[in-house]
């Protein structure tokens, strides 16, 4: 074979890789652009100049900024924008990894029962005032986190009893989800008026609880777990061809599976413990990415995270501003914005790999 033909294939590959890299960079740019734009949006009537001024004044001794602008932009908007971004990243990444590791396009933190588990933990804390670690301000957060991880452990444990088949694992997740939903319904039914409202609020999810002290912990945690998961990109690629092929490519399938599932469970749990259930993103972000750039997990994982961040940030900004000062629950807006977009991609693409 001649050398120029080999060179050709290399160029084809280089071009494809460059396209995916570019796509990733464009997504990153979009997230940053929307984030900048979102700092100027809100219920308080602050001009663009004032909003940016407030941010700049933090770093440069440039201009005089009103305390009001500083409070609104630095204490209220910025943490919330960052919270939207990291929550979106976590859910998008966890969704992509879970779908990849289980080779199933319908899997998400929601279908595996993680969200219901977290919700159940939160509901127990809200209604009974009982937490894993006693009582206190973070009782809901901590309960949600541990119940979410507990769910993953139970689901995985059940599937181990039946030889770790993927189908058992997914069905066990769905079943646990129903069980926890039943517990939540029971708690909702027996609880009083205001507790009920609090549970409903938690179930709808939202980013209004964003605070710097939480965001500061979550950012490094989310980035760390995302990086860790990205190290398994090649293994996930190989596993999508089936367990046997993956294992013949030198991959310890069971080990990769439990590591990836646990890491994504921790990733999901750590954000939904603060935000409540935010559905849809974990399921759909990976699909949007696959439709646009294919399934190579080296690109899929970061892009799915960024798509998740973008969708959640746009949705949350819309929910803050559409009928301000009243805020619309973010889950409602996410679905209104995300579903038409996803359906458009679904019907406009010829490929039907999900069949």
């Amino acid at each position: 074979m001649s050398d120029d033909e080999v060179f050709d294939a290399e160029e084809v590959y280089a071009r494809a890789s460059w396209k995916k890299t570019l796509f990733t960079l464009v997504l990153l740019g979009s997230v940053l652009a929307v984030a900048v734009f979102a700092t100027t949006m809100g219920a308080a009537s602050l001009g663009m100049g004032e909003s940016f001024g407030a941010v700049l004044a933090e770093f440069l001794p440039v201009e005089e900024v009103s305390t009001f602008a500083q409070v609104v932009v630095l204490q209220l908007r910025l943490p919330r924008i960052l919270m939207a971004i990291i929550t979106g990243i976590s859910l998008g990444v966890a969704g992509a990894v879970m779908q990849g590791v289980l080779r199933n396009p319908l899997v998400s933190p929601y279908t595996l029962g993680l969200s219901s588990g977290a919700a159940c933990g939160a509901a127990i804390a809200i209604v009974l005032g009982v937490g894993v670690f006693g009582t206190g301000r973070y009782i809901i957060v901590i309960n949600a986190f541990f119940f979410s991880l507990l769910t993953m452990a139970i689901v995985y444990g059940i599937s181990r009893m039946r030889g770790t088949s993927v189908e058992t694992l997914i069905l066990a997740g769905v079943a646990m989800g129903y069980l926890f939903s039943a517990v939540i319904s029971l708690l909702k039914y027996v609880s009083g008026h205001e507790e009920l409202r609090e549970i409903v609020f938690w179930l709808m999810g939202g980013l209004y609880t964003a605070r710097w002290e939480n965001v500061i912990i979550l950012i490094p945690a989310v980035l760390f777990f995302t990086m860790l998961l990205m190290r398994y990109s090649w293994d996930l690629n190989a596993m999508s061809a089936g367990e046997e092929v993956a294992s013949s490519l030198g991959i310890n399938v069971n080990r990769v599976r439990i590591i990836c599932l646990s890491l994504s469970a921790v990733l999901t749990a750590s954000v939904i413990a603060f935000t409540g259930i935010i559905g849809f993103i974990g399921l759909v972000s990976p699909h949007v990415c696959r439709l646009l750039i294919g399934s190579d997990h080296r690109y899929l994982i970061p892009c799915s995270g960024l798509i998740g961040a973008l969708v959640l940030l746009v949705s949350d900004t819309a929910c803050r501003t559409m009928i301000s000062p009243t805020e619309i629950p973010v889950g409602i807006v996410t679905s209104f914005i995300g579903v038409p977009f996803f359906l458009y991609l679904l019907v406009s693409r010829k490929r039907r790999w999900w069949q």
Binding site: A43, A44, V71, L76, Y208, P325
Partner: protein, 349 residues
């Protein structure tokens, strides 16, 4: 009169049959839906505008509404309550009464028909279907609203009438009225620029109430301006930054109390501390001036809502209401009408 009733719900099938049988027997005896008026009955008009004819005096009452239960007990007729909704928890001795449902929305029709009371009192959460079913069993239903103070007054006199406790009802109404008049008189001449801007928070952080809610009425009556009155959602969650921008002079936080237990000072302080620690609020006038108040929702509904009114008025206009001690009024109220000592903490600070 032939009425075909089809019940889809499996659990209500038996009741359905029962109701059908009742209808049938009523039709056969010719009494139908309208009983012949006699001197032993009395007719009142309920909130929905329906004329309800009940035996006089009513001896056996089922109350699905906690406010109704409070009023009946205040009238000294607690012994006439034979069934209650599980949210009726005040006064404490009412907890000996059997439960016949959770609220007006979820009554246990079976238990109610079994108890066969002279009248059932519910609030507006009662569904039309349930009302029909209970009425079909021959139990008169009074559906009432307890949101608006004037309406509550007329409920008090209606209940006084049917329970033959008119004198007691007049005492209760005048007790409440005297303080209501004080509030109205003293806030009437305060000019609108003297009225403080108030942000009221109910339960969840930043959840507030717009116009046409009892919370809004409470703020307005006490001489405050509800900053969220113009919102289109009844109980909206608002943006924190908007609250910062509106810069309210007073923040009131209602903490929901759903059990019979009362709050301790620590409970309410915790709520207050949480609110004060929220990002951004430190710049708000109310926080700077130390005018953030937390209170238990118990003084905001039913007979005791006058106590809440007085606290609001005193918080909004401390100089004008200097001579008023809401806690003393609260103590008098529970002592005089329920024979109880005041326990627990209801406001902070």
């Amino acid at each position: 009169m032939i009425k075909v009733v089809i019940y889809v719900n499996k659990n209500q099938g038996i009741i359905g049959v029962l109701v059908c049988l009742c209808l049938l027997s009523l039709a056969l005896t010719g009494s139908g839906g309208e009983a012949t008026p006699s001197s032993d009955t009395v007719t009142i008009v309920d909130y929905t505008g329906q004329s309800v004819e009940v035996p006089y005096p009513v001896d056996r009452v089922v109350s699905l509404s906690s406010s109704a239960s409070e009023i009946i007990c205040a009238l000294g007729a607690s012994d006439k309550i034979i069934g209650r909704g599980s949210s009726s928890i005040f006064p404490p001795y009412i907890e000996d009464v059997p439960i016949v449902g959770k609220s007006s929305y979820t009554p246990s029709i079976e238990l109610i028909i079994e108890l066969d009371p002279d009248v059932l009192i519910a609030d507006t959460m009662l569904t039309g279907d349930n009302r029909e079913m209970i009425e079909a069993a021959g139990i008169p239903v009074i559906e009432e609203s307890f949101v608006d103070p004037p309406r509550v007054t007329s409920v008090m006199s209606n209940l006084g009438l049917i329970l033959d406790k008119e004198e007691r009802a007049r005492e209760l109404i005048s007790f409440i009225d005297q303080y209501q008049s004080i509030i109205e008189e003293r806030t009437a001449d305060s000019r609108s620029e003297d009225k403080p801007a108030v942000f009221l928070e109910r339960g969840q952080p930043y959840r507030t109430a717009s116009a046409s809610t009892s919370s809004h009425n409470c703020i307005t009556t006490a001489g405050g301006i509800n900053i969220a009155s113009g919102e289109s959602v009844k109980y909206p969650t608002v943006s924190p930054e908007w609250v910062v921008e509106m810069n309210p002079e007073i923040i009131v936080r209602s903490v929901w109390a759903t059990t019979g237990e009362t709050f301790t000072r620590e409970d309410l302080k915790e709520e207050s501390d949480e609110l004060l620690s929220r990002p951004g609020l430190s710049e708000v006038k109310a926080v700077k001036d130390g005018r953030v108040y937390v209170h238990s929702s118990k003084i905001n509904s039913g007979v005791r809502s006058i106590v809440g009114e007085l606290y609001f008025a005193k918080w909004f206009h401390p100089a004008v209401f200097e001579d008023i001690d809401p806690e003393a009024v609260h103590r008098d109220l529970v002592q005089e009408f329920y024979g109880l000592e005041l326990e627990g903490v209801y406001v902070y600070p």
